[in-house]
Symmetry: C2
Subunit: 335 residues, 2 copies
Amino acid sequence: MNKKQGMQSVVFTNPPIITSTANIVGPMEGKGLLQGYFDYIMPDNLNGLASWEQCESYLMEYAIKRAIEKDNSTMEEVDCVFAGDLLNQLMSTHFAMKNLKRPFLGLYGACSTMVEGMLLSAILLDGGFFSKIVAAASSHHDAAERQYRFPNEMGVQRPPGAQWTVTGSGAVVVSTSGSGPRITTGTIGKIVDYGIKDPNAMGPAMAPAAVDTIWQHLQDIGRTPAYYDMIFTGDLGSVGRDLVIQLLQEKGVDISTNYQDCGCMVYKENQDAHAGASGCASSAIVLCGYIYKKLLQDKLKKILFLGTGSLHSTTSYQQKESIPCIAHAVSIEMP
Amino acid sequence: MNKKQGMQSVVFTNPPIITSTANIVGPMEGKGLLQGYFDYIMPDNLNGLASWEQCESYLMEYAIKRAIEKDNSTMEEVDCVFAGDLLNQLMSTHFAMKNLKRPFLGLYGACSTMVEGMLLSAILLDGGFFSKIVAAASSHHDAAERQYRFPNEMGVQRPPGAQWTVTGSGAVVVSTSGSGPRITTGTIGKIVDYGIKDPNAMGPAMAPAAVDTIWQHLQDIGRTPAYYDMIFTGDLGSVGRDLVIQLLQEKGVDISTNYQDCGCMVYKENQDAHAGASGCASSAIVLCGYIYKKLLQDKLKKILFLGTGSLHSTTSYQQKESIPCIAHAVSIEMP
């Protein structure tokens, strides 16, 4: 493709194909709204391992191996892997990739990581450099809580607007040949920061970044929201989702009838997750289970899929900085 | 280009051009071996800012802006930026990118980040998706010490094999047109882990990863070390450098006469940096100053440049895990 100056989007000449996906979750996600859309539900959040971090590594390793297996491929056929997670220095990703022994490029986009990896995978494949790439992301509730907020053992009460970090991982296999939905375009996000400083309000903090990327995508590609059967964001939760609809309405764009946030699709009302799911795995497990199946069944034919990342750290919070956010998008279409 | 199965390397059809570079360092680096090769030397490690983390953000923002200025370009002409640093959740990168307002893809490769970004930039440009991309990386001694080891105020004695995290940042502008050295090939690394657990022995920990990628590069592209005027690694320091030479000798490859490590090129013997420099900025400031000038002067015509990353975290260390390492490579050649 040829990119025009000022565009943040790319249009693929030979749209790469998502030939396989896999996901894995913890018990809480397994009892949620998406029962029947997971490859494996762990009996507990340790799964026999010594630490939550080791368990998160296992989650990613499982998702990648299972996706390759479902693709009827071998690990040796994977040209490279794009992956990342929420832990400091991508701890769970690195120990997963140590075991998988494939060429690897580490990403940090917080909860936008899955889409960042898919977008880069599609670019590398359409550019003719490789033939099969895996993109993966993971998060683990207990590992994330003790790193970002409070260890669970302290029993700190969570505010109503807080979200629940998903324990899980998803992996997609993107190939130059095979059958399945195709990644037809991608939009790279810019950092957007509206000055929100409360790390319990990540949904509202990320909403303007999602709005910026959706708006830019529609401008760049020349589409209206009606082109898509559904537009999905990654983990804005109920508060952030409503804000996205409202902010786009103020720009004259109506997505109120064909938009949902993955963070609102994971847990049941009575599961006490408050404003919904969050974490790299929120978008990853929904895409790699529910959404991918609906695409294969032709119940969804054209979707816009956004990963949304809240790029704060405990240090930036302690230093009273605001939360920089980003959103990347890919459009996925059945042939 | 067309990639052969099993190869970790790509060969560019229209090798992208490094049209500009810039760097910035702290006072200790400014008094070191590379005086005269820096765009700006800060008077101290805060440079008037409120925290070391804010200072590191400034370092990256300066390097990117200065590189664009030296390229006679505007920020609006930059299609996207690949960047990363060592801080948890890429804190300094995200606040720099918040100010720069360009499409951004976050990377975490520890000290391999600079080369990971250059490799991906070259792929996106040669693939025809964009025309101008910036790759940047930063590190800050004081911010890194308090995050990874001990706050400087504690005055903990450093072991003789320890390295000194560079305070600085480097940025390269990679373009599809213009003049300058070209990125002709790239090799994506795999994670290599020889079981070293001491975070004060990062050089020896990373050496096998560097060896793996150099070996793979030579196999993939069909070259011998003699093809290159020089082979550079990022931040192995004196202990790691000697190990690379020895490990490659055991494989029948001799790089003893045309190999140097950027970590050995930054500080003078009497600066008490022990085994040499480390950090994302070690390779970045050497490449964006000294090496780039030598290329433009035709004193170096063909180099292989490796970024080497030690992918541990404080949590992985506390959990007694070994240190996974990775190295990515690009070959840079004058036309």
